[in-house]
Symmetry: none
Subunit: 211 residues, 4 copies
């Protein structure tokens, strides 16, 4: 995949890693250069300015997401839904401390943290908001389509797919938030339970016990 090579791509990756490590508020051009292992002024050959680079970072998050999603052919809705949930929850097995400290974190882990990091910017900058909106729309759409397929195929109970997809996404956010921003261990334990209860009730399907 050609877009996974070249200096421009390396800079974007460095920006993402630096963002995960230091956070948006403490992210400096200098630190991106350090993460890159090259002169910080180099990035001005490839991006207009800091904002341009950071915005493009969100494109990379999306590209990765698309690549990851497009990898497997959709087949069994129930399994697809389970996979999607796992893919979302997996990164959180890596703790925040690891992310802010370690040097070599797997990329999909880092991406989740970057996402959380840029929420706050989306509140004030419409460019960030537009990108994040698109990303989430895509994500929720994919859940919705999986639900629809399951309903068509009679695997899931009939339920308003959009509403249920949004509900699932809400529980994802809860997980993301409690894992990254607070120390409420009892809460994080509850997310999956609530998620499985939800699917059970809404879809009449139990994702926990694959028979």
């Amino acid at each position: 995949m050609s877009h996974r090579e070249g200096t421009e791509w390396r800079i974007r990756v460095a920006a993402i890693r630096a963002l995960a490590k230091h956070g948006y508020a403490d992210l400096s051009i200098k630190r991106i250069g350090e993460e890159l292992g090259q002169s910080s002024s180099l990035l001005y050959h490839y991006f207009d300015d800091k904002d341009d680079l950071l915005l493009s970072t969100l494109d990379l998050v999306e590209e990765e997401f698309v690549d990851q999603r497009g990898r497997d052919e959709p087949s069994n809705p129930k399994e697809d839904l389970a996979d999607l949930i796992d893919a979302f929850f997996d990164p959180f097995s890596v703790t925040t401390d690891d992310v802010t400290t370690a040097d070599e974190i797997e990329f999909d882990v880092v991406l989740v943290y970057v996402y959380a990091e840029l929420w706050a910017q989306a509140t004030r900058d419409e460019r960030y908001r537009a990108k994040i909106t698109e990303l989430e729309t895509r994500f929720v759409d994919e859940i919705t389509r999986t639900l629809e397929r399951g309903i068509e195929e009679g695997q899931f109970r009939e339920t308003p797919p959009t509403k249920t997809a949004e509900h699932i996404f809400a529980l994802f956010l809860h997980e993301l938030h409690t894992k990254t921003a607070v120390d409420r261990d009892e809460a994080t334990e509850m997310t999956r339970t609530n998620l499985y209860d939800l699917t059970e009730r809404e879809l009449s399907v139990d994702l926990r016990n694959p028979e």
Copy 2:
């Protein structure tokens, strides 16, 4: 109430307003001074440094929250739950643009935006994380207690209160996120629906149609 007066309190309020207006990443001592209408060096008489002030800001968020909660005697669990939900959703009738632009925003509106603003910091700074954790614990506890009271009084169906409270909180987060960080109107419309469906199903109570 003594803690609502004096220069120290005014500084904290100014910090909160400046935080809501500019965001954590673009919050400077100078801007707090501007919001305060006094010299920025004044705050060094009352706080050790910027961090100290900002941290103390979270105390104020908590104080306000406590005051607000403690105002009314708990009475009817169903009504209490409905009030709690309304209190959370109300601030979002004020748009993000208003918050970042206007000068005189009602305080409880500002607080919600500040809260979203500080999530990201909590990821990296344990002091923020501790405060936010405490705040959320308190908030979820209150929901839990309300549910427990309702169950005791037979107003709600028997349900694991902690789990359900956490589920309600997840939907609160969803609302907070979609209202502040993305333009997904269809999503924001769905939050309340999901919330009411949840209470109906879990608690066998319909908060929408007070008979």
Copy 3:
């Protein structure tokens, strides 16, 4: 005179000296700080930015000019004209090398060099152009008024005062230019001759030989 004191005034003076020493193109905030003997960031307490400071510099040139002019009561037109010419030519007894090297140059000498330095900016920046225009207008007006007085009093021959004043100013520019920008010694020697010939012919008065 109160405007001749205080940090703001000292900064403007430092800017002027640095401008004379290094020239507009090589004038940096750092160098102004060095000339001032204080931190370069200090100037941001008194001026919005570099441009603001430099523009204000021209105000100082004007203030000095006004003060200098307003010092003596106008009396004898012939003597006044001679004084005015001397005041303009005097600074050029200090060579360019002195200005760019020495530390303590008399202020009215420096001002002339600053003036030449900012011409080029006036071509591109209307704010500079406006200030320089005003300054020159004032200067030529004063020459004009002196001529008018001389004509009224019968000391000078009847001549269109505006046109002659402008002609005199043209010869001033010639002096300024040849003294600062080129090594054409024969030209500089000729300026005064041309100037005296002009007054003799136009005004029927010989400024060289006060009888």
Copy 4:
């Protein structure tokens, strides 16, 4: 004419145009590259560094000047003087705004603006001063020679040619200055008048009314 071709010549032209457009203080290698439409690093094949290029730029100004002058055989001194004056005044029919904005300005127009731009540099850099000195000497010499021919042929009154030539040049400078650096319309109108009065008086010849 070989010196009017090739990449080196194109680079010099680009430098001149960029100089006229942005001014010396804001002239960067990058901008020259943009004006050239090629990579900025190209110029390091033809010039040692920025200074070298800019200095060579003045050679081009001189070459153009020489070409322009050498074009016609000197014939009638009176007509030659009139032509010379016209050639100097013509470029100023193009306004400063045009020069700093438009893309395709006639070359002799641009040259005048470049000349004014480099005065300030000549004050501090002897290499610039040497070139500008030579250029002006040549220019004034040509005026002087024209005057001498006119005197020899009896077309002009006997007058010290050097002094008068310098006086004419002073009025040229006045025109250059008022047209480029200030908004003093009344002054620019007066320059020609003064110039014609001068020739009439000094040379007993009226350039305005060719009978």
